[in-house]
């Protein structure tokens, strides 16, 4: 495929549309053409920013909508459960802090006594998925989540490119896994909850067993309870992707995260 042809199809690529063969050919071209890879990245960035404007800021007309009035007017009684959750929001936040502390202090350990990162991160994932751990920041915008995290952790963290990973972001937060600072991005793949944990590469010193495994197998996978997870080191980060879905889908998220240029 030539550059001109590849660029004709960038929107299909960006929207994850078109057939598999087209995507295969485009990926092959992008792997071998730095200019087009950069061009695709810029196009996707512009699209994401435009989309962000379209979704986040529809003016007063959108923000003024009163849904309880709409539901009442339409003859639908709103569910009380939702309000109860809101009332207990602050309680949940406090509880979340407690859960994180418990995980950090008493979380999993391997047989050799070293902390077990898989177990620790799976615990956080389960709590976030079940709603017992409230997200520090909630947004469906990749850019907002990126911006939220960029000043809060000393290592680079980004949402994976949605077009490649199929990962729809829901929010983000920070936690301590053993003694290590970690950031997590929460979202879904095919409507199933998936969490991405990002730690600085140096944190592997705290998890020697895992470091050995990754030395043998740079992209490794395991199962913790009901959760599948895949992990690898990319650039300056250790990345774990966890979810109760097929491992190949998690691998896709992990790989797409790895393709994201940290310097961008």
């Amino acid at each position: 495929m030539k550059c001109h042809d590849a660029r004709r199809y960038w929107d299909l690529y960006h929207d994850s549309e078109g057939d598999a063969d087209l995507h295969f050919q485009l990926n092959e071209h992008l792997d071998n053409c730095v200019e087009c890879a950069e061009w695709f990245h810029k196009q996707s960035r512009l699209e994401s920013l435009v989309k962000e404007r379209l979704t986040a800021n529809a003016g007063e007309g959108a923000t003024a909508v009163d849904w309880s009035r709409i539901l009442n007017g339409a003859g639908v009684t709103p569910v009380r459960r939702a309000r109860s959750w809101k009332m207990f929001g602050s309680l949940l936040t406090a509880l979340a802090a407690g859960i994180l502390l418990m995980i950090g202090l008493f979380g999993g350990f391997s047989l050799d006594g070293s902390p077990n990162l898989a177990h620790l991160s799976a615990e956080v994932h389960q709590h976030v998925s079940a709603g017992s751990l409230r997200l520090e920041f909630e947004s469906e915008s990749d850019i907002d989540v990126d911006r939220y995290l960029v000043n809060r952790v000393p290592f680079p963290v980004r949402c994976p490119p949605r077009k490649d990973s199929g990962f729809a972001v829901r929010g983000a937060g920070m936690c301590q896994l053993s003694n290590q600072s970690a950031a997590y991005v929460v979202g879904s793949v095919d409507h199933q909850p998936v969490s991405i944990f990002v730690l600085p590469k140096e944190s592997l010193n705290e998890f020697p067993e895992l470091r050995l495994i990754l030395q043998r197998e740079p992209m490794t996978a395991c199962r913790e309870g009901n959760s599948e997870m895949v992990l690898s080191v990319f650039d300056k980060n250790l990345i774990l992707v966890i979810g109760n879905i097929d491992r190949t889908k998690l691998t896709r998220v992990l790989k797409s995260y790895g393709t994201y240029p940290h310097s961008a």
């Binding site: 810029k42 003024a64 909508v65 539901l71 003859g75």
Partner: protein, 193 residues
Amino acid sequence: MNPADHTKAERFVAHLEPLQRQLSVYCARALNQRDESEDVLQSAVANAFRDFDKYSEGTNFKAWMYRYVTLEILNRNRASSRLAVPSGSLEPAHEPALHIDSFRLETLLDAPEIVLDHCDEVVAICVRQLTELERKILLLRAVGDFKYREIAEILDVPIGTVMGLLSRAGNQLRNGLLDYAHENGLLRKGDTA
């Protein structure tokens, strides 16, 4: 409301709650008169709730709900056509994609934040200047995150129409941004064509 209806309402609201914000945005963007959003959403919700027994649990509720909202928007825009932007409604399926100045586009691609940070209202205006069908397709993709096939089903148009008009709408939006950026000196100095 009897117990059966109450259960139905609970189920309906449980499905609807996660969509409320994006439906509000979609409605405000797609309507000719955005202050009609609440009325339109109320009518759409009433119709959808009335038909909720026909909805099959486990199928795509989002697409199902968007159909009701889209239909209501179409009706409302027709009714308020005296104020509507000239609209091609359903006909411009095979118009060629708009030309876009590739040189100016490159400057936008290099630093999109500089332009877009100033352009919320420009984006809104550009969207309103699209034909009604282009606008809906663009918004269903951007706000609703629907696949082309789903958009085609919601709007009952061929998927080729969705692809063609989406591309055209995207180019029109970019042209609007470029014009605004050029007129207001937001593009890099020396790059203005």
